[in-house]
Amino acid sequence: MTDSLLKISGLTMRFGGLLAVDAVEFEVKRDEVFAIIGPNGAGKTTVFNCVGGFYKPTTGSILMEGKPIDGLPSHKVARLGLVRTFQNVRLFKSLTVLENLLVAQHMHVQTGLLQGLLKAPSYRKSERQALERAGEWLEFMGIRALANREAGTLAYGHQRRLEIARCMITRPRLLMLDEPAAGLNPQEKQDLQALIDRLRREFGVAVLLIEHDMSLVMGVSDRIMVMEHGKPITTGLPAEVRTDPRVIKAYLGEE
């Protein structure tokens, strides 16, 4: 299919005797929100880590627009436009909010050491642009007023938003969110859902989502894959997944 962005087939990850991910297959299309759900320990984050280049999968292939990316180091994967957030927010805590966003633009700023030391016009320009872009994203996320605060001092909800902004400023094509709603209050969860919709609409980014919050998953996803014990149980539209007896069994256990 031509509109395939990320295609994963036969993905297996083994840690010693533990088969964490077993023959996982799925495909994320352009502009699609694809969610992976499943009970704790189902192997969702391991899939993320394999896709992001943090783990080298035991077997299987990961194709980004038809090109294999499995085995690439994570920073190269990120440069191809696959950027992620983390289950436990990983901000640069003692850097300011603004600096977090400046660091994230690192791969787009090309300044030589000498140009920087001499503050050459090209360097000034790229720094100014980086600042402007950071400002725009803070505005977009509604946290501009916090720009000069240390990131670690932000409220949890703001930290989550900052982490998403930090991903988006790298201009990704696939945004991978690992439990973005964890620890958010109901209002923040609603905002998050609106945010994901907006990101997709305005920036054309596809989203790969891991989430436990069912109302968010059902509200925002185009398709959902359910995993249990490292294996995919089913993949389908939200309405199909919700009524699938196997899924209900995985979540609620057998009668």
């Binding site: 901000l91 003692s94 690192h106």
Partner: protein, 409 residues
Amino acid sequence: MTKSNFSNALIAALMAGVLVAPVFGLQIVSVGLKTSLKPQWNMILAGMAIVFVFQMIRPWLRALAGRRMALPALPAMTEAGRHKAIVFLILVSLVWPFFGDRSQVDLATLVLIYVMLGLGLNIVVGFAGLLDLGFVGFYAVGAYTYALLYHWAGWGFWEALPFAGAMAALFGFLLGFPVLRLRGDYLAIVTLGFGEIIRLLLTNLYSLTGGPDGISGIPKPTVFGYPMLRRAPEGVTTFHQLMGWKFDNQDVIIYLYLATLCMVFFTLFVSTRVIRMPIGRAWEALREDEIACRSLGLNPTRIKLSAFTMGATFAGLGGAFFAARQGLVNPESFTFIESALILSIVVLGGMGSQVGVILAAIILTVVPELAREFAQYRMLVFGLVMVLMMMWRPQGLLPVKRPQVELKV
């Protein structure tokens, strides 16, 4: 005064007695061939008494300390005010050696060398967060590069200086590779080993480096090619002849001071700029969270190597000045204790704080010189100061002030 306080003090005093007894309490007396141990009860009791009294008054001390622990910080200044202050300090540092005496200027040169080293290590430890215990290795590489180029090829100081920096940079780069995967404790140990390897190489490559004797007779820098010597070799005009002055050793020392000062300004300029550049921000980000860095497309290999290389370059430049100041290099000058001293400068100053590093370099170099008569207690006092600092002010004398860039909100 509570009862628990009293018993606490009593226990502390007893503990002190136990600890002090083997160190101070026993004197080795040798009469002829017989050696015997003679207990020194008054020493032990005095030690216990001191600990007891201190423990008893500690609550008051704490209350006292709590009240007046206004932490020193740079006073808030406007941009213009800060520029004025900087210009003033530069002028003072340029002019005072002409009025100072010889040993003071010489000591100030040493301080400047430590400032350079501190700024270099500050990049590696303070910014990139890579704990390097073998920093002295790069210092040694710089010093020996100049010494060897002089000894084997007859190079002068200024020709050798860039090579000293470049060689140290190369070593920094090479050390970077094996330690890329390491962090924290492991990194510290490997770098510690690296520093020792360099020292042992210098000691054992006898035919090249002169082994433990080192290389002597290293000349001081020339003034645009005119040497500052009392008597010039045949066919060479010395600087005092050129200027028509009388030769004065003081001039040589002042000149070396000024040359070192220029180098410090250069390193200060470079490091101040670099830490505000994308690469400087990347260093800090890497210190905070390497995994997040990778997830954003930052290549940790390049970032770490650049920090190691730049830090090592500064150390190498400092080493060349050290060789010129001493006129003699030998492996003894590059022991682990030097690495510890440089690290202390960075920690005492406040990790990542440039002004703090300068201040700490001055304190840690000048104070031991002033307290010469207590030289044997130097390490003791040093250790004590470090312990107290870590307890009361772990962020250093002058911690970094964020933010370096601001967004108007």
